[in-house]
């Protein structure tokens, strides 16, 4: 029953939307009914697939770049106090600068190709990964450090056998936040200047008043974001099963 309720909620929402459009005679270019959006989605599926793939590609590239750079950086930040004080204020500075404002700059520097989109997706997903990875790498208790030292653990063992596995649940919460943000990053990049991708399609349908296709594009973006989120969550369940099972057991209240 409790599993059904979110789905039921969405259906009720769609029904009210559909009814409202007919009852108040809202023109389709303002607000198409969900059935029309669904029809457009099916009809224009090849187009959505083409542009969707472009956006997915940019998003994944930016995300992977963020992961590859953020994790070593977090390890550096947590293992050297001096490096932490040197780099952290700069990270914060770059995070506070709005990415939407930098995007046009990237266009000037790198043209309308893939690069500026990847860079915006990278910039947007980078920060939560660094922050959460650093929190995770610092989360080991001092008693666990004492335990490791009493076993004669080397620096490498302390890191690989204790600190890194302890950090994984935190790292993954950052990875999941970043996954949902990276789609937005790619779209922002496309808004500024592109000839393909779902962001580009949004602009085109907007100026042509093709509102139903616009809604279908938004649906496609949402699906991409959701699928990506669940892929990361699946990886989490696979890599750190102790954490997920723990959470499930606590949640079910049958301890």
């Amino acid at each position: 029953m409790s599993k059904l309720s979110p789905l039921a909620g969405i259906l009720v929402f769609l029904a009210i939307w559909e009814l409202g459009v007919y009852l108040f005679n809202v023109p389709a270019y303002l607000m198409p009914p969900p059935t029309a959006v669904a029809k457009t989605f099916v009809q224009e599926f090849p187009k959505l697939l083409f542009h969707g793939w472009v956006t997915t590609y940019e998003m994944l590239l930016g995300y992977v770049l963020a992961v590859v750079i953020a994790i070593p950086l977090a390890i550096g930040i947590t293992s050297s106090h001096r490096f932490d004080r040197f780099i952290t204020p700069q990270l914060l500075f770059f995070q506070v600068v709005p990415k939407v404002a930098i995007a046009p700059l990237f266009l000037v520097w790198f043209g309308v190709g893939t690069t500026p989109k990847v860079l915006v997706a990278f910039l947007i997903s980078f920060f939560p990964i660094v922050i959460d990875a650093a929190v995770g790498l610092r989360s080991m208790s001092s008693e666990m450090t004492d335990l490791a030292r009493s076993m004669g653990a080397t620096r490498w063992q302390l890191f690989a056998r204790f600190r890194l596995p302890t950090s994984l649940p935190y790292l993954f919460s950052g990875l999941k936040v970043a996954a949902t943000l990276s789609v937005a990053g790619a779209v922002v990049g496309e808004f500024v200047g592109a000839d393909k991708g779902l962001g580009y399609l949004l602009l085109v349908t907007n100026s042509n008043m093709e509102t139903a296709l616009m809604f279908a594009t938004i649906v496609a973006l949402t699906v991409i974001g959701l699928v990506f989120f669940y892929v990361v969550e699946f990886l989490e369940a696979f890599l750190i099963p102790w954490h997920v099972t723990h959470r499930v057991r606590e949640g079910s209240g049958t301890m």
């Binding site: 009493s150 076993m151 750190i240 102790w242």
Partner: protein
């Protein structure tokens, strides 16, 4: 006696630097512990008893005095020992058996030699059948038993226990006390046991070191002359004489209220 002491603390003190100035955790600590002896340190919170254990383990530097273990001065983390902390601190991603074997893995010892020992210890502490469970599936008492096995699997000459029952309920404390006694009687390790429970100290130890509140000083060292194995439910008169004596020392130093 000094010649045969395994652990020697000679006029040891620990002073912390705090914002409000220097805080003396403990001082004038003189204590010799013989090989195979079970010594308990009992005292109120903040008397520096945990600090003493960490200084013996080389996990905290002392401010003055000298500490030797097995004839060698302690100036770095000691590895020839096993420690049981207040929390079990098990690794969530390892099974019960692998948590015990962590000690073996980190030290690069031979797994095949030590796995039977690990299994034997788990059996001795009533964890047979739980070898492949994950820590989150265990109760607090079971987790602490795993950490006791982990502290013993590599057969160290010294066992340090820092309020190992601190986070457990009364019934579990009693059971694990019995487990520790059983394991200790089989292995006869030198043991240093930190607690704030008077009956637990008397139950387990050959000698009980009674400490005053901060700044921690040794008030008295009491020999416990009771036959082993000791049991909580069939203790001779002398047991309550010992606990009463320690209680009166605490009353005199203001730790316990006069009645």
């Amino acid at each position: 006696m000094a010649a045969e002491a395994y652990i020697q603390l000679d006029d040891v003190s620990k002073v912390y630097r705090a914002k409000a100035g220097q805080v003396e955790a403990c001082g004038e600590i003189n204590l010799d512990i013989r090989e195979s002896e079970f010594v308990a340190i009992v005292g109120p919170s903040g008397c520096g008893k945990t600090t003493i254990l960490k200084m013996v383990a080389g996990l905290q530097p002392r401010s003055s005095g000298s500490i030797t273990v097995g004839g060698r001065s302690v100036d770095r983390p000691q590895t020839d020992l096993g420690i049981v902390f207040q929390d079990a601190i098990l690794l969530d991603w390892r099974s019960v058996l692998d948590n015990v074997m962590l000690q073996v893995d980190i030290r690069n010892l031979d797994r095949a030699t030590y796995e039977p020992i690990a299994r034997h210890l788990l059996e001795l502490t009533g964890l047979k059948g739980f070898e492949h469970h994950k820590p989150f599936e265990l109760s607090g008492g079971m987790r602490q038993r795993v950490s006791i096995c982990r502290a013993l699997v590599h057969d160290p000459p010294l066992l340090l226990m820092d309020e190992p029952f601190g986070a457990l309920d009364a019934l579990t404390r009693e059971q694990i006390s019995m487990d520790i006694q059983r394991v200790w009687m089989e292995k006869r390790k030198t043991a240093l046991f930190i607690t704030h429970s008077i009956p637990e100290a008397v139950l387990l130890a050959d000698r009980v070191v009674v400490m005053s509140p901060r700044p921690g000083r040794i008030v008295e060292i009491i020999d416990i002359d009771l036959p082993r194995p000791r049991k909580l439910d069939s203790m001779p008169e002398k047991f309550s004489e010992y606990t009463g004596r320690i209680r009166s020392i605490f009353k005199a130093s203001g730790v316990l209220a006069m009645d």
